[in-house]
């Protein structure tokens, strides 16, 4: 009850601030603060930075959870984190890394870079963009609240029933997962729609679909996947919530429910989710290979085709997560073959990257190092993926450490390497400063070596008979040293991450402004000034081909040719309503978790009220006049 009281007080406090219950001078002063500026911003670059920083934060949190687990597994019979605690760690590690680290980091980069790459001044729905971020933020916060209030979720990130039902996971743990993810998931869907409309509707003159940079293309396909893959998760979570909170019987076999139903719904979402996080990584890599080879991306059209095909096939392979459920050899064979098919477009991509470098003029700044490291790592991950696609072999791998090794090769070797590459690559555009190459090299090598030391041996752990998600293992069956090597590798990755954090701090403290085009870039984002003005382009550029900026530079132009005369620019105004909406859902969600229906309903009602606020909000933004623009341009 104490928790609830605190929440009510907080709720009133926020309501008062935002509705003007306080005196006006205070409001005026608040509106001038930086915090207010960020809180209410609808600028895609600021929202991108917030996504990115939140992603880094949760990456560190998830990494700590992983280190705790690796510490527990250092020797057999260790008793540092056992039983439920260990299950909380593994659940939150998975949930955090997928939903609260990988996704926001990707959304951060898409938000900052994609509108610049297509020559737009903002995304299609700036308000939704901000709402998407704050929903993600409060959803993630709510899920993590479990650590402090009543226990974190402990049924695995897949949250399989019946383990996730009240009877076997009593307490609020899984409720945090269910409600937190629903709130964050709503935000994700909005962002998906937003990115997609932006890419389809807001491209500048001459930027046809087949002239878009690869990162934009992969953002497009990822957005499509988000739109169609999030609903199954929403439904799965909704049904689980009904079962846990309102006594429904979707999953209780005694009352006719089905555990396999959950697995289907979860993986219909879950498999496309893998591509949601890995496709943008492919895009980042494509851009980086091309830039640092000083060559156009090899086989651009087949790259686009391969990306689309992966996205398409991603929806028809989910049963390969369920080979041991006992669906029968027919289902298993069909889905095995469908899964293997995905190797073909992925193979096309790998060869295209190699041949992008073929005949190039390769330089190796840290961003390129990550991309280089990505190739062998990801290829190994992809190969173990094909090995896993064969059901008879999968019967042995399933739920063993082999699977753990496989998906870390794909998710770290693919997604995380790409995100770190993207961070080094686009850092100057995001923050206007450079990251240190010296520290970056340390970061790369420690993380890269640590990664392989951690996860390569885990293939063998699985083959030697160690199931995943266990807090201990038998002594004297060949598992001790491999586990120790793995833990040692994890520590190296940890040190690498600390160096990265130090690198970021150094960059924030440095006063040196980065060059506008430090890498001799190819796409439109490098044609903007650094730091990027809030309207991105004073005059929208005209695009004449793939690698638009590079073409202009080759033709001897320093800048893009404008597609429009200098005129007044319409920009959206900031809004505090997204923040308010998200707070309302946060409070309502927490009310439901605490089984306090009054607060739950209050939160939902408050959300309804904020929707009216939005509907009746007639602020249509403001115009930037040409004169102001010229002044600004002159100053910089």
């Amino acid at each position: 009850m104490g928790t609830l009281l605190i929440m009510i007080v907080f709720g009133l406090f926020f309501a008062a601030i935002f509705t003007g219950g306080y005196n006006n001078t205070l409001i005026q002063r608040a509106r001038k603060t930086t915090a207010w500026d960020w809180l209410t911003s609808v600028d895609h670059k600021k929202i991108g930075v917030m996504y990115f920083m939140a992603g880094i934060f949760y990456f560190v949190v998830g990494g700590l959870e992983a280190l705790f687990m690796r510490y527990q597994l250092l020797v057999p019979g260790n008793d540092a984190f056992v039983g439920r605690t260990f299950n909380e760690l593994l659940t939150m590690h998975g949930t955090t890394m997928i939903f609260f680290a990988a996704m926001p980091l990707i959304f951060g980069l898409i938000n900052v870079v994609m509108p610049l790459q297509i020559g737009a001044r903002d995304v299609a729905f700036p308000f939704l963009n901000s709402l998407g971020f704050w929903l993600f933020f409060f959803g993630a916060l709510l899920t993590n609240m479990g650590w402090i209030f009543g226990g974190a979720p402990d049924a695995g990130w897949t949250s399989y029933v019946q383990l996730a039902l009240n009877e076997y996971s009593p307490g609020p743990g899984v409720d945090y997962y269910v409600l937190g993810l629903q709130i964050a998931g709503a935000g994700t869907t909005m962002s998906g729609i937003n990115f997609l409309v932006t890419i389809l509707n807001m491209r500048t003159k001459g930027m046809s679909l087949l002239r878009m940079p690869m990162f934009t293309w992969t953002s497009l396909i990822t957005s499509v996947l988000i739109i169609f893959a999030m609903p199954p998760l929403t439904i799965a979570l909704l049904l689980l919530m009904m079962d846990r909170l309102f006594g429904a019987n979707f999953f209780d076999h005694v009352m006719g429910g089905s555990a396999v139903l959950w697995e289907h719904l979860f993986w219909i979402f879950g498999h496309p989710e893998v591509y949601i996080v890995v496709l943008p990584a492919f895009g980042i890599m494509s851009d980086i290979f091309s830039t640092f080879s000083k060559k156009k991306l090899f086989g651009y059209n087949s790259m686009v085709f391969a990306t689309s095909l992966i996205g398409f096939l991603g929806f028809m392979v989910w049963v390969h997560h369920m080979f041991t459920v006992g669906l029968g050899p027919v289902s298993n064979s069909i889905f095995a073959i469908a899964t293997m098919l995905i190797a073909i477009p992925t193979g096309i991509k790998v060869f295209n990257w190699l041949f992008t470098m073929w005949g190039g003029e390769l330089t190796f700044p840290v961003a390129m190092k990550w991309a280089i490291g990505f190739i062998p790592t990801f290829v190994i991950g992809g190969m173990t993926g094909i090995m896993l696609a064969a059901p008879p072999a999968d019967f042995q791998y399933q739920d063993s450490y082999f699977v753990v090794a496989h998906f870390h090769y794909v998710l770290i070797g693919g997604t995380v390497f790409a995100l770190l590459a993207g961070a080094y690559y686009w850092w100057p555009k995001m923050f206007g400063k450079m990251l240190s190459e010296r520290l970056g090299n340390w970061h790369f090598w420690l993380f890269f070596i640590g990664f392989h030391l951690t996860f390569f041996p885990q293939h063998f752990l699985g083959l030697f008979g160690m199931p995943r998600r266990v807090f201990t293992y038998e002594p004297n069956v060949g598992l001790e040293y491999i586990n120790q090597v793995s833990t040692f590798g994890a520590i190296l990755m940890g040190i690498g991450t600390i160096i990265f954090a130090w690198n970021m701090i150094q960059s924030f403290r440095s006063k040196k402004i980065a060059a506008a085009d430090p890498w001799d870039g190819r796409s439109l984002e490098w044609a903007t000034q650094t730091p990027v003005p809030f309207y991105n382009f004073a005059q929208l550029p005209e695009v004449r081909g793939v690698d638009a900026f590079w073409l202009e530079k080759q033709a001897g132009n320093k800048e893009m040719t404008p597609a429009e005369p200098l005129g007044k620019i319409h920009m959206p105004s900031g809004s505090h309503i997204p923040f308010l909406m998200s707070i309302a859902l946060f409070v309502g969600g927490w009310g439901l978790i605490a089984r306090s229906w009054q607060i739950g309903v209050m939160g939902l009602l408050a959300f309804g009220v904020t929707m009216f606020m939005r509907s009746f909000d007639r602020d249509h933004g403001f115009y930037v006049k040409p004169k102001e623009l010229l002044d600004k341009e002159a100053k910089s």
Partner: protein
Amino acid sequence: MAHDSVEIKPGVHLETATFEGKNKVMGFWMFLGAETVLFACLFGTYLALRNQTVNGPSGADLFDPVLVAVATAILLFSSLTSVFAMMAMNKLDKKGMLFWLGVTVLLGLSFLVLEIYEFIHYIHEGHTFMSSAFGSSFYALVGTHGAHVTFGIIWISTIMYQAWKWGINTETAPKLFVSSLYWHFIDVVWVFIFTLVYLLGMVG
């Protein structure tokens, strides 16, 4: 970009006249795509669990063809009135539009009343949300649809008020258009509900 210069005259597609409007309509179609999958998952859940009645009444025992026929007719007709409202909007006929929207909302309300009556009836028959997997999945599917209808009624009423106050212009037209798409979509979902839930339930 918002263009102040859009000329407001009959026969102009005001809903897509501005850039915002275009984005909104396209974004909304994507949202409908997502909703399709969302409802598909509920349908799949229902179809997978519909025979798990655990000694409770089954669909064949419960469903009343007359009630379903009336509900279907109401919703279909409201879809037509919603189209008429959009045609009036295109002619900048504010009065006509508000009239047809009013009819749509009233039909929606009567559908809702019918559904609530139906649910109360079922609960008396021992078919509740908690009685079995069949009960849970039935109420989840039909209830989610009902929640969509409820939301639609509130939404359309709100926008009717805005159109009445602010007139038909590039600001209200996209909202009106999008809400009518939403209303049609609810009807589309209902077509499958009466086919796959009620009629299939009566077949057994």
